[in-house]
């Protein structure tokens, strides 16, 4: 990795330059909130955003996507190509970049998911530093830092960006489109100061030690019943989560019933149907068991395979949950042995 300094005012040049060769996406405002969207006018880009409604997973694994087009008569696939245009996502925060890295483990290992991969391969990532919000707890999982998973990363030093360049492609882009200068010791010192200030910005440090063990030890705990009573089974938490990847597969016939599409769409382990099988058997009939599973899988199931928890502490689920159920609350409750109000 090498580093450069870029004047803050140059960001628009960079975006405009990138737009010549790529589709550029980034955070823009939507009412009081922010969403990742195509940037038509560089001035729309809002690098001062807190967090977006949906995480960037929507750009790699859309809420609903066509997997293949088929012909009914001979049960043949007629098309399963994925067309992914070259693009840049500009302005991802460390948590979201880490979220993508966690998704990569699922979609790019073993049986490689061609749809996700095509989009991932055609996308360059420009990260940007952030300011901790009240709902953030990325510091609990060390996802507040990011060391790979981007091409360029911009750390805000007030009037300038400390630019970390991770990939060859990132270096080229920087070279082609924007004026930068080498870093000085003063820049590095400022960079360190900003990083320390950032760390101090978190409201608390969540105690996550021994979480997998606790989850097993407290599998029958009444904590889950209390949470189950509150949970609305709405699935909002899973939709907004940058690391929830479950999906449902559905065949849709065209009106003439001769051809159709097999699609997949985001699903949630919070829905009753999720773990039901034929003959009326349901492995997670109770709401409590479903709420529990979401945490069990995130903090232990995934960890058992990839040695990371499946959460980046972005706090989106906590914001989205009308019942106020959040990883912070659940982890604290497991630590303390009960759900606090």
């Amino acid at each position: 990795m090498f580093f450069r300094i870029m004047d803050k005012s140059r960001v628009l040049d960079l975006v405009a330059g990138l737009s010549q060769d790529f589709e550029v996406l980034g955070p823009v405002s939507k009412g009081d909130a922010f969403v990742y969207q195509r940037i038509d006018d560089p001035a729309d880009l809002r690098l001062d955003y807190d967090t977006t409604l949906l995480p960037p997973k929507k750009l790699f694994f859309p809420p609903e996507e066509q997997m293949m087009r088929f012909r009914v008569a001979d049960n043949e696939v007629v098309d399963d190509e994925v067309y992914a245009a070259p693009r840049v996502i500009f302005g991802l925060h460390p948590c979201d970049i880490n979220g993508l890295l966690l998704m990569d483990n699922v979609f790019l290992r073993d049986y490689v998911d061609p749809y996700y991969k095509a989009r991932r391969d055609s996308t360059l990532i420009v990260g940007v530093s952030c300011t901790p919000q009240e709902s953030c707890f990325c510091n609990a999982w060390n996802t507040d830092e990011v060391h790979w998973g981007f091409d360029i990363f911009l750390t805000d030093l007030g009037d300038r960006y400390f630019v970390s360049v991770r990939s060859v492609k990132g270096a080229e882009l920087l070279d082609d489109h924007v004026e930068t200068r080498p870093i000085t010791d003063a820049d590095t010192a400022e960079f360190q100061r900003v990083a320390r200030e950032f760390e101090a910005g978190f409201s608390d440090e969540l105690n996550t030690s021994q979480l997998p063990l606790l989850l097993d030890a407290k599998f029958e705990s009444p904590i889950w019943d209390e949470l189950g009573e509150r949970c609305l089974s709405c699935g909002a938490c899973s939709m907004v989560c940058p690391t929830c990847y479950c999906f449902d597969v559905i065949d849709r016939l065209e009106p003439d019933q001769k051809t159709g599409v097999r699609i997949r769409k985001w699903d949630s382990c919070q829905f009753t149907e999720f773990a039901s099988v034929a003959h009326g058997q349901n492995f997670r009939e109770s709401r409590a068991s479903r709420v529990k599973y979401r945490y069990y899988h995130k903090q232990w199931g995934y960890l058992s395979k990839f040695e990371r928890v499946l959460c980046v502490g972005c706090g989106r689920c906590a914001r989205a949950c009308l019942a106020g159920i959040s990883p912070r609350e659940v982890v604290t409750a497991l630590e303390a042995g009960g759900v606090g109000e």
């Binding site: 293949m68 998911d113 599973y293 199931g301």
Partner: protein, 282 residues
Amino acid sequence: MTAYQELQQNPYRPWPARITSIIDLTEQERLFELRIIDDGVREAFEFTSGQFVELSIFGVGEAPISISSAPSKQGFIELCVRNAGDVTGALHRKQCGDVVGIRGPFGRGFPFEEMKGNDVLLVAGGLGIAPLKSLINHIHDDRHDFGKVTILYGAKNPSEILFRYQFDMWKHRDDFDLILTVDDPDESWGDEVGRVTRLFDMIDIEPENTYGAICGPPVMYKYVIEEMRNKAMDVDKIYVSFERRMKCGIGKCGHCGVGHQYACIDGPVFNFWEAMNLQEAI
């Protein structure tokens, strides 16, 4: 990467396979023999007993189905399918010569090689015989590699006993100890009556070199395992096969979680020692 995986650029894309034979087993179950149409794919298609395929009928959907035939059967695979809903119902409406799709084989099967040289106790309930049938046939084809083979198989009533034609023949063979039982007998029934667990009183096993394999409805496992433990069998020599909801078969869709594992890639066959440590398993 195996030659087969290399062929499988898109693991969600089913291979067309032709139905080459359909046998009515019971009112609800039929045995379908399939032949993958593409020569290269067919030849590369290798599996172990206990693995499953995703059966795909475009316009309806997919369903995970265990392979019932033995790996030693070349060029064809058999699926024993109960008409349980949309996909399986649509399959039941298909005819010989029709084309369906299959993806797979997926999952972990029974440790056939490891079992060699030992005795085997297979316990099936209802449709659970489907994956075990593959194992039984495979053992049959390699019979000299195994010690004593005991099969306990229970169903609700005589009309629900699957592969009865074959088992009726086998009952008279001395290289297999086969005991059948039903909950509700009719006049024609000459075999045992009652739960499959009852049959444990009738068998004799050498626990130190016996492998167990269980497949059946979810309620059955607990009791069968209890009986096996009573017979002093080692927990890590017992294998269980689980059914869970699945949408992809390859560890992505998330539906088949059993505790911290996925039934599709970590199972469906689990070593009982592992399963004991799996929440929600039994």
